[in-house]
C-alpha cells in the first residue's frame, strides 16, 4: 500500500474523531526554518509488516503512540513529585508548583505513612517528614489540599501498601470541598509487587496485599471511574539496578499478575484494564530508552488483546508516567545532573510518555531546593516549547537502529517473562528471591563496570575536579516530628473515639471475611481514624511480610 493511502485512511477515521473534540495546539506545524512538519512521517511504501509491528498513532499495536495527536494535541503532563515535612509546608510547595505551570500534583509521603505507621509510633522515630509529607489522619489531608480544587487538578500519590487508606482520605477531602467521588482524577501507585521486589515499603504478605488491590479495582470501577487505580512501576525496579530489558519484563509480568487476580475476583477486564497505568524510568542511554518505551507499548497491546482477549481498544493501550533516573544523579559537580536529566527527559518524550517528572540536580545530596525544582521543571518546558520534538509523532520510527533495538527489547523481555512463568509466576518468584536476584546481579555488574572504569561517569570516575564550594541544600525543620505528634494527639483527643472503635471493629470483621474493604476503610477515615490504627487492624488479620532476598 502507498503511504498516502494509509495516511488518508488514518486521518479520516482515527485522527478525525479525536481532532473533532480535541483540536491540535496549532493549525500548522513548521520547523524553525519554516519547513512543514507532518503529523506522522511514514516510509513511501507501507506493507503488512509495517502495520502489524508499528501501525499508526492511536492504532493497535500502538508502537508509535497511544493517541492520534500525541503532543500535537497537548503536551505531556508535567508532573513534579514533591512533598516533605508537614502537610502545611507541602501544600505551599504544591501551590507554588501550580503557579509555575505544572498541571498535576504528585505527592511524596514520608516512610511511616508509606508503611502504615502513625508519626508517634516507635517505628517512626527519626523518619517523620523526611522523604515526604507525614499524613496521620484525614485532618492532615485536608491541610495538604487546602485551596487546591480537586475537581480541576489530577493528583498522583506514591503510596502502595496503605493505598486504600490514602485514596479514601482523598475522596473524603474532595467531598468536603463539594467535589463528588466520580469527579476526582489522579493515580495511586498501589503496586505492591514491585515493593517486594525493589522498593521495600510492603506491609502484608502478597496474597492479602493482592486482595486489597482487587478490592480497590472493584470499588473504584463503581465510585471513581476516572481515577487510575494502579501505576505498575518499572521505575523502582530500574533504580534498584535492573537493565532496561528487565525493567520492561518485570513490570509487565507484575501487570499480568494484577490482571489475573482481578479476573479471578470476577471483574470485567474492559472495565478495570482502562484504569491500569504504568510508570517507567528514563535513563541515560537515549536510544535504548526510546526503544524501551515503544517495545513496552507494543508488548502490552499484544498481551491485552491476544492473551487476555480484551475487546475495548482502551484496554490495549499502555499509558505511562516517566521519571528521570535518580540513580544516575551524582553528588559530584551537581550541575552536570541538569544535562543528564535533559537527555533522559528527551528520551521519554521521544518515547511518547503521558506525563513526566524531571529530577532536580541536587537530589544525590538531599531533598531538592526550590531553585533546583524550578530548573527541573524548566527543562521540560524547554523541551516542549523550544526543541520542536513535540511537533511530530514518534520521530525516531523507521530508524534502522531504533527499530532493531525495539524488536530486541521485546524479544529479550518476553524471554524473561517466560522464565518467571516457568518459575511459578511472579509471587512464587518473589518468595524464592528469583526476581530480586535478577536485579541484584545486574546492579552488581553495573557498579563493577564503574569501579573498573569500563563505564565512565563524568565527574565521578573521570574528569574529576576538586570542589570547594558546597551547594546549598534543603534543610528540614527538626521540629517536624514533635509538631506532627502534637497534632495527632490533638486529633485523637477531639474526635469521636466511640465511632472510631466501631468503624475499626467493622473493618476487622470485614477483613476476616471476603467483603470489599474499601467502604469500611472510608468509614474509618471519615471518623479520623489514623493510618496506623487502620493498618494495624489489617496487620493483626493479615500478618506481615519478611523479605529473604540476598
Amino acid at each position: 500500500m502507498k503511504a498516502q493511502e494509509l495516511l488518508k485512511k488514518w486521518k479520516e477515521t482515527t485522527l478525525a474523531k479525536v481532532i473533532a473534540r480535541f483540536p491540535e495546539r496549532k493549525t500548522e506545524f513548521k520547523t524553525g526554518g519554516n519547513l512543514p512538519i507532518p503529523n506522522v512521517a511514514l516510509p513511501a511504501e507501507v506493507d503488512e509488516n509495517y502495520t502489524s509491528t508499528l501501525g499508526m498513532p492511536g492504532e493497535y499495536p500502538y508502537t508509535r503512540g497511544i493517541q492520534p495527536t500525541m503532543y500535537r494535541g497537548r503536551f505531556w503532563t508535567m508532573r513534579q513529585y514533591a512533598g516533605f515535612s508537614t502537610a502545611k509546608e507541602s501544600n505551599e510547595r504544591y501551590r507554588y508548583l501550580l503557579s509555575q505551570g505544572t498541571k498535576g500534583l504528585s505527592v511524596a509521603f514520608d516512610l511511616p505513612t508509606q508503611i502504615g505507621y502513625d508519626s508517634d509510633d516507635k517505628m517512626s522515630i527519626g523518619e517523620v517528614g523526611k522523604v515526604g509529607v507525614a499524613i496521620d489522619t484525614l485532618a492532615d489531608m485536608e491541610v495538604l489540599f487546602d485551596q487546591i480544587p480537586l475537581d480541576k487538578i489530577s493528583t498522583s500519590m506514591t503510596i502502595n501498601a496503605p493505598a486504600a487508606v490514602l485514596l479514601c482520605m482523598y475522596v473524603a477531602v474532595a467531598e468536603k470541598q463539594g467535589v463528588k467521588a466520580e469527579q476526582v482524577n489522579g493515580t495511586i501507585q498501589n503496586d505492591i509487587l514491585k515493593e517486594y521486589i525493589a522498593r521495600g515499603t510492603y506491609i502484608y504478605p502478597p496474597k492479602e496485599s493482592l486482595r486489597i488491590i482487587t478490592d480497590i479495582f472493584e470499588w473504584c470501577g463503581q465510585h471513581t471511574p476516572s481515577f487510575n487505580t494502579i501505576s505498575i512501576s518499572g521505575y523502582h525496579i530500574r533504580e534498584a539496578g535492573s537493565t532496561a530489558v528487565e525493567e520492561v519484563a518485570l513490570t509487565l509480568a507484575n501487570a499480568c499478575t494484577y490482571v489475573d487476580k482481578a479476573l479471578e475476583a470476577g471483574l470485567d477486564i474492559d472495565v478495570f484494564a482502562k484504569r491500569l497505568a504504568f510508570f517507567f524510568n528514563a535513563s541515560n542511554d537515549l536510544f535504548e530508552e526510546v526503544a524501551k518505551f515503544r517495545a513496552a507499548r507494543r508488548m502490552w497491546a499484544k498481551i491485552m488483546k491476544e492473551k487476555y482477549k480484551a475487546k475495548d481498544p482502551k484496554s490495549w493501550m499502555l499509558r505511562f508516567h516517566t521519571q528521570t533516573a535518580g540513580n544516575t544523579l551524582t553528588a559530584q559537580q551537581i550541575d552536570n545532573n541538569i544535562v543528564r536529566v535533559t537527555i533522559q527527559a528527551l528520551s521519554s518524550v521521544l518515547g511518547g510518555t503521558q506525563s513526566l517528572h524531571t529530577n532536580s540536580r541536587d537530589e544525590a545530596l538531599s531533598l531538592p531546593t526550590t531553585e533546583s525544582v524550578q530548573i527541573a521543571l524548566r527543562t521540560q518546558q524547554i523541551i516542549a516549547h523550544e526543541s520542536g520534538v513535540a511537533n511530530t509523532i514518534d520521530p525516531l520510527a523507521g530508524s534502522f537502529f531504533v527499530e532493531q533495538l525495539t524488536d530486541d527489547i521485546e524479544l529479550k523481555a518476553n524471554k524473561i517473562m517466560q522464565d518467571i512463568e516457568d518459575a511459578g509466576g511472579v509471587v512464587a518468584a518473589i518468595n524464592d528471591g528469583f526476581v530480586q536476584r535478577i536485579i541484584e546481579d545486574s546492579a552488581y555488574e553495573y557498579q563493577m563496570e564503574i569501579e573498573r572504569k569500563d563505564r565512565v561517569i563524568v565527574g565521578v570516575n573521570k574528569f574529576v575536579v576538586k570542589e570547594n564550594k558546597k551547594p546549598e541544600t534543603m534543610k528540614l525543620d527538626p521540629a517536624v516530628e514533635k509538631n506532627q505528634n502534637a497534632a495527632l494527639k490533638h486529633i485523637k483527643q477531639t474526635r469521636n473515639n466511640d465511632r472510631v472503635s466501631e468503624t475499626l471493629n467493622e473493618l476487622r470483621t470485614a477483613a476476616k471475611g471476603t467483603a470489599n474493604l474499601m467502604p469500611f476503610i472510608l468509614a474509618a477515615v471519615k471518623e479520623y481514624a489514623s493510618i496506623g490504627e487502620i493498618s494495624n487492624v489489617l496487620r493483626d488479620e493479615f500478618g506481615e511480610f519478611v523479605s529473604k532476598s540476598i
Binding site: 504478605p205 511459578g424 512464587a428 519478611v546
Partner: protein, 305 residues
Amino acid sequence: MSNRAQKLLADIKNKNARAIGKAISIVENETELCDDLLIGLSESEMPQYLVLGITGNPGAGKSTLTDKIIAHYRKQNQRIGIIAIDPTSPISGGAILGDRIRMMQHATDSDVVIRSMATRGRLGGLCSCAGATVRIMAASGCNPIIIETVGVGQSEIDIVSLADISLLVSAPGLGDDIQAMKAGLLEVADLLVINKADLPGATALFRDLQMLAREKEREITKTIASTGEGVDKLIKQIELLEKDYNESSYILKKREASKKKEIIDWSLEMVRAKLEKNIEHFALTNSDPRLQAKDFIKQHLKDMQ
C-alpha cells in the same frame, strides 16, 4: 585452665551474649584460648540438650520453618540456640550469611542465640567447630539447639549427622528434590517434612516420598511454614522420636558416632596444617606423587601432636 578461660566459661553460663559470641569465634578461629575453653565444656557438666538438624534445598522454606519452631519453643519459655550455615564462596573465601533476615523478629530476644557460620571449605567438613558451638550454646542453657543448612553436598550431610534428630525439608515444585534425597540425605534424616503443603504438587510429592519413607520407616509431616500450620504436629513428632531414641539408647549411639566424626574432622584439620607446613621442606623426587606421599607421611606423621 587459665583465669581468662574461667571467666569466659562463667560468663557463658551466665548467658552473656557477648561471651557466647566471642567463645564461638575463638573456636572457629582456633585462637589461643580455644583448648582451655574446650576443657571447660566437658560433656559431664553439661545440662541436657537436644540437637535438631534442619536441612533441605534452597526454596524449601527452611528458614521460615525454623522461625516458627523457634517461636514454638519460646512460647514454652525454652532458651534456644540456632546455628545457621551458609556456603563459603570457593573463589573469594568470603560468604554472605543471609539466614538472619528471616529470624530478625527474635533479634532482641536474649534467649534466642543465633550464630551464622560459613562452611569455610574445611577439609574435615564443618563438624569440628559446629560441634563445639553446640556445646557452647548448651552450656549457656540452650535446649534445643538447631543446626540449619542448605541440603546440597557432603558437608551438609555431615552436619545432619551431628544432630540427634534431623529434619529433611522439601517442598513441591523444586524438581530434583527427590533425586537429592535418594542420593544420601534420606539415609541420615529422621523426619521428612513437606513444607508449602498448600501448593499444587504437594500430594504428588507426598506420594513420591511415601515409597521412600516406608522403606526407611520414616514419618512424613506436612507443614505450611508461612502460616505455621502443621508446626505443632511436627514438634510432637520430634518429641515422640526423642523419647523413643532415649529409651532405646539410640541417641547415645548417635552421639558416639558423631563424636568420632568430630574427632576425625579435627584431626584432618590439624594434620593438614602440619602437612602444609612440612611440605615446604620436603625434597621432591621423580617418582609418582602418590608414592612420594607415602614417604612424606612416614617421615612426618610420627611427630604430629
